[in-house]
């Protein structure tokens, strides 16, 4: 599964017009910003997005995908001025009894893999979003701004949607793999299939407003 593509699609969706569905309610986000070589650097604590229950579910032995998108938005709302994101795959190895965490970040040349042995370490790893590069300071909005983090566990990927459409259009006959029959109605159903609502697996965090002066801007 191409998780990077899924992350890119997710980020693009976030940067585009928001869907008409109800957005999740935002929780406070602990964050700090700084200017590093004319770029905005942010350090976030995503811990509230990973309560104990969420961590426990990440240890279910399945490959779980955590998509994190951080955006800079004007305090009064409006389109994001900057964004960054990463996709974290968490797989709990039931034989080794440890977590294999793979971080895919557009800034990294290749996925970074780490292994942690307990839920607490996993939570620290996931919650840590330090020195995030949010782009040039020139892109900051003219007034005060906030940082918003959207954390979604196991988002529906474009690949999954395509696979679902194919399943609808080419259903398996009598349970025999490969014995599909092309269905016009199924193809129509696939065409009409749209991305599902995010549901309860999305956590939205919002920071306090930051003044441009805090990063040395007038």
């Amino acid at each position: 599964m191409n998780r990077a593509a899924a992350a890119a699609a997710l980020a693009a969706a976030l940067l585009s017009t928001p869907p008409a569905r109800a957005a999740p309610r935002a929780a406070p986000l602990s964050a700090s910003v700084a200017a590093v070589k004319d770029r905005l650097s942010a350090t976030l604590d995503l811990g509230p997005a990973f309560p104990d229950e969420a961590i426990r579910r990440l240890g279910n032995g399945l490959t779980n995908v955590v998509a994190v998108v951080v955006v800079v938005v004007p305090e009064d709302g409006g389109p994001p001025a900057a964004a960054t994101g990463r996709v974290v795959e968490v797989l709990y190895d039931v034989w080794e009894e440890g977590y294999t965490v793979t971080v895919r970040d557009a800034r990294l040349p290749r996925p970074a893999r780490r292994t942690v042995n307990d839920p607490a370490a996993l939570r620290r790893l996931l919650a840590d979003a330090s020195t995030l590069d949010l782009g040039p300071l020139l892109l900051l909005p003219p007034g005060r701004f906030r940082l918003e983090a959207r954390v979604e566990v196991n988002p529906v990927s474009r690949e999954l949607m395509e696979r679902t459409r194919e399943l609808l259009a080419n259903p398996v006959v009598s349970g025999r793999p490969g014995a599909g029959s092309r269905s016009v109605l199924g193809a129509m159903a696939g065409f009409l299939l749209r991305d599902p609502a995010p549901g309860d697996d999305v956590v939205l965090l919002r920071s306090r407003p930051f003044a441009r002066a805090e990063v040395g801007l007038p």
């Binding site: 032995g61 039931v94 034989w95 159903a189 009409l192 299939l193």
Partner: protein, 509 residues
């Protein structure tokens, strides 16, 4: 198609673009097409929600997600088992390197999953080591090492094998569980899209049915619209309207044919009534004329008779005056006689009795007329053709004799000075008795034919123009009709049609 509306006819309502009949037929077809699909739509929704949900059911995804945990328990049990087996092996290890090696060899044989066993010294040096024989099943197995500390700081390292199939099954199940989990997220949208497709199918079926209904109804609706338009014009008084005769055998074609027949009959009835009313007026005029003319005739006649008597009683008068009086008397008597005959004809026309029909056979009646009319035989060559069998009618023999007399007399007079040839024919159609009277005379000008049955219309110098009017009135009073046309030889041809009397004993109308 109906002819154009007469100038006086009121304009009809503008026909709708799609007739109500077509709309009703379309609606019926749409209902017929959609109603069975509504339960299908509900069934589709149910299937999408339940049957397809077997794969997408939340419980399936939940149970699949629990499978790795089950494997984890299995692996832990295996690890405990291997640790216990290693401890048992450690407790049973004898002293001495050779003995230990022999014990390890026995253990490898006794424990199939023990693939490697070694005794390490406190410094990590291998003191004794045994490997299990290579096996095809070794491919892909995963090692589960266990170390047990022995007395004196030595350690027993036992490496057990975990079957690769377990991990393959785990990977497959995990992939399945991940797919089920992801699909569960699309469950609502899958259901929605399937229901939308069925709804689109229903809408398409309805649209197709509506189109089919429109195509089916269009032709019939047009025909009905033409009938409705013709009906409207009839209601406005235009009895000349006819709808295009249809060759089809359906109800609309039958309705069109029936409409034409009905309008024709109504028109004949109206013409009959109008003519009878007109004749009645002319009869009133004739009665007054007869009265006004007849009254002075007798005094004129008596006065002249007295004048002649006085001339005869006075001898020695002027002989020239006597001759003049005699000539004048002759003229007066002739003219008075002419006026008396005219008065008699007017009176006869004015006092036409009511028809008292009695059952008769039209052919027998005509034959009897010829037999009892020697003057006709003297004046003309008359032939009678009777087609078919009996032609039962109800007629007033006396009045009908007058009709035949008038028609044949016209034929005789038209042929003068030649001898007339008159052809009579009797036949029957499905519901009419037909009598034709044709001659070989000069015929009647087509321009005169529409007025030939009006009173006082005549082409003869001495005629009164009442004969054909009397004939038509009598025929109409019999419920029949009379028409004038042209005989095949060029003469005049009169066609009389009467309703057939019902079968069985004939009674007077």
């Amino acid at each position: 198609m109906a002819p154009p509306a007469p100038p006086g006819a009121p304009p009809g309502p503008r026909p709708p673009r799609v007739s109500p009949f077509a709309l009703k037929l379309m609606a019926a077809l749409v209902l017929a097409a959609v109603l069975p699909l509504v339960p299908a739509l509900l069934a589709a929704s149910w299937l999408a929600d339940n049957n397809a949900g077997v794969w997408l059911a939340p419980r399936v995804a939940e149970r699949l997600a629990e499978v790795p945990g089950t494997y984890q328990e299995l692996f832990r049990a295996r690890k405990q088992l291997y640790a216990e087996q290693a401890r048992t092996l450690a407790r049973a290890l004898p002293a001495g390197t050779a003995a230990r090696r022999a014990a390890l060899e026995q253990a490898v044989i006794r424990l199939p999953l023990l693939r490697h066993a070694a005794v390490l010294g406190p410094d990590g040096v291998v003191l004794a080591e045994v490997d299990a024989p290579a096996s095809p099943e070794d491919a892909g197995w995963r090692a589960a090492p266990v170390e047990v500390t022995l007395p004196g700081g030595e350690r027993l390292r036992a490496t057990f094998a975990v079957e690769a199939s377990l991990f393959a099954e785990l990977d497959e199940t995990r992939e399945l569980a991940e797919t089920a989990r992801d699909m569960e997220k699309t469950r609502g949208e899958v259901r929605r899209s399937i229901v939308l497709v069925f709804a689109a199918t229903v809408a398409g079926a309805a649209l197709l049915a509506a189109l089919l209904g429109y195509l089916m109804a269009r032709s019939t609706a047009r025909r009905l619209a033409r009938l409705a338009e013709a009906h409207r014009r009839v209601a406005a008084g235009d009895l000349s309207v006819r709808v295009e005769p249809e060759r089809g055998g359906d109800e609309v074609a039958a309705l069109a044919r029936g409409f034409n027949v009905m309008v024709g009959e109504v028109r004949q009835a109206r013409d009959r009534i109008v003519y009878l009313e007109k004749i009645s007026g002319w009869q009133d005029v004739a009665r007054r004329l007869a009265h006004e003319i007849k009254n002075p005739l007798t005094p004129i006649q008596l006065a002249f008779q007295q004048l002649e008597a006085r001339w005869r009683q006075a001898p020695g008068g002027d002989p020239a005056f006597g001759r003049l009086l005699a000539d004048a008397g002759e003229i007066v008597r002739q003219e008075v006689g002419t006026l008396q005959r005219l008065v008699e004809e007017f009176s006869a026309f004015a006092r036409l009795p009511d028809v008292k029909p009695e059952p008769a056979d039209l052919g027998d009646f005509v034959a009897g007329f010829l037999e009892t009319s020697p003057q006709l035989a003297e004046a003309a060559d008359v032939s009678l053709v009777r087609a078919g069998g009996p032609v039962p009618v109800a007629l007033d023999a006396g009045l009908m004799r007058r009709v035949l007399a008038n028609l044949t007399e016209n034929a005789v007079q038209a042929a003068l000075p030649a001898r007339a040839r008159v052809h009579l024919g009797v036949a029957r159609t499905r519901d009419r008795a037909v009598l034709t009277v044709a001659d070989e005379g000069p015929g009647i000008e087509p321009s005169l034919r529409p007025r030939v049955f009006d009173p006082y219309v005549t082409t003869k110098e001495s005629g009164t123009g009442l004969g054909l009017a009397i004939a038509k009135k009598i025929v109409l009073q019999h419920g029949g009709e009379i028409q004038v046309g042209e005989a095949p030889g060029g003469g005049a041809a009169f066609t009389l049609a009467f309703p057939l009397a019902p079968a069985g004993p004939m009674t007077a109308a």
